[in-house]
Subunit: 129 residues, 2 copies
DNA sequence: TCAGAAATAGTAATAATTACTATTTTTGGA
DNA sequence: TCCAAAAATAGTAATTATTACTATTTCTGA
């Protein structure tokens, strides 16, 4: 049985109001403004709990820590290989790609994950000068 | 200047002859049959070196350790959420997806990574009984 | 053959995350 | 309103995957 906690509410609220795809560490630093004694374990536990319930997204990619996203609508993510910024892409996601993949596969494919890499607008400008 | 090493040759050969997408730890265990004193650091260093040179693929996904693949031809990977087996998919990869994504993006997108998840043939059979 | 460069083995360190435990908070009844 | 059980927390320790460090060994080309 899930019980209310003000720490969890604060974490959820932070993700809903800051669409920067923060890491657990970033969330931890931010929440500490309001809850100076919150522990990193609590942040991880609640991020996992919220992600398992589908209230937030956990985004894993290559190297580096996982990112979290309050926007659960299907959308693609871009990661800048120079500054690690993660951005939402406007492109419509290919929702049925895994159904296509399943046609030539003996098992069951239920979902797929795609991430895009390159230089973010800011970093691509810097490289031009 | 790159120098020959029998350990590296053995690692490369293992990946070329075992298309099971092994982890560094799996490669380490296997190579130890021939080189009982090889260190895990040597395995990691050579896997990284080979991947950087494009001779093998490093595959990172959600949780769990990275996998390595001697097959450098572009192809998609499937990961079983039940047993963690990684399999190649026969489906043709969408090589130009990141060019499509770049059309609605202010920065530069140079590549993308897609992984598929579900139950492998073996695990999907088990669940039916 | 030999000297310098590169690679190795073995070990220590790091980064991200999870596990553990004693204490505190929440919550649905009495 | 009070209370006990369940759940959550803070603080800490442990784990996992990987990289860094260093003294020794192996390559290689002159």
């Amino acid at each position: 049985m899930l019980k209310y906690s003000k720490q969890r509410e604060s974490i959820k609220n932070y993700l809903d109001t800051h669409r920067i795809h923060p890491t657990a560490e970033t969330v931890y630093s931010a929440i500490r403004q309001d809850f100076p004694n919150i522990s990193l374990g609590t942040v991880y536990r609640n991020l996992n709990l919220l992600a398992d319930r589908g209230e937030i997204l956990r985004i894993s990619y290559g190297s580096g820590p996982d990112r979290y996203d309050g926007n659960t609508k299907p959308h693609y993510h871009f990661i800048c290989t120079s500054c690690d910024t993660m951005l939402d892409l406007k492109m419509e996601p290919l929702m049925h790609l895994h159904e296509l993949a399943e046609e030539t596969f003996e098992g069951i494919i239920t979902n797929h994950v795609t991430h895009f890499f390159g230089l973010c607008p800011e970093c691509s400008n810097k490289k031009n000068f």
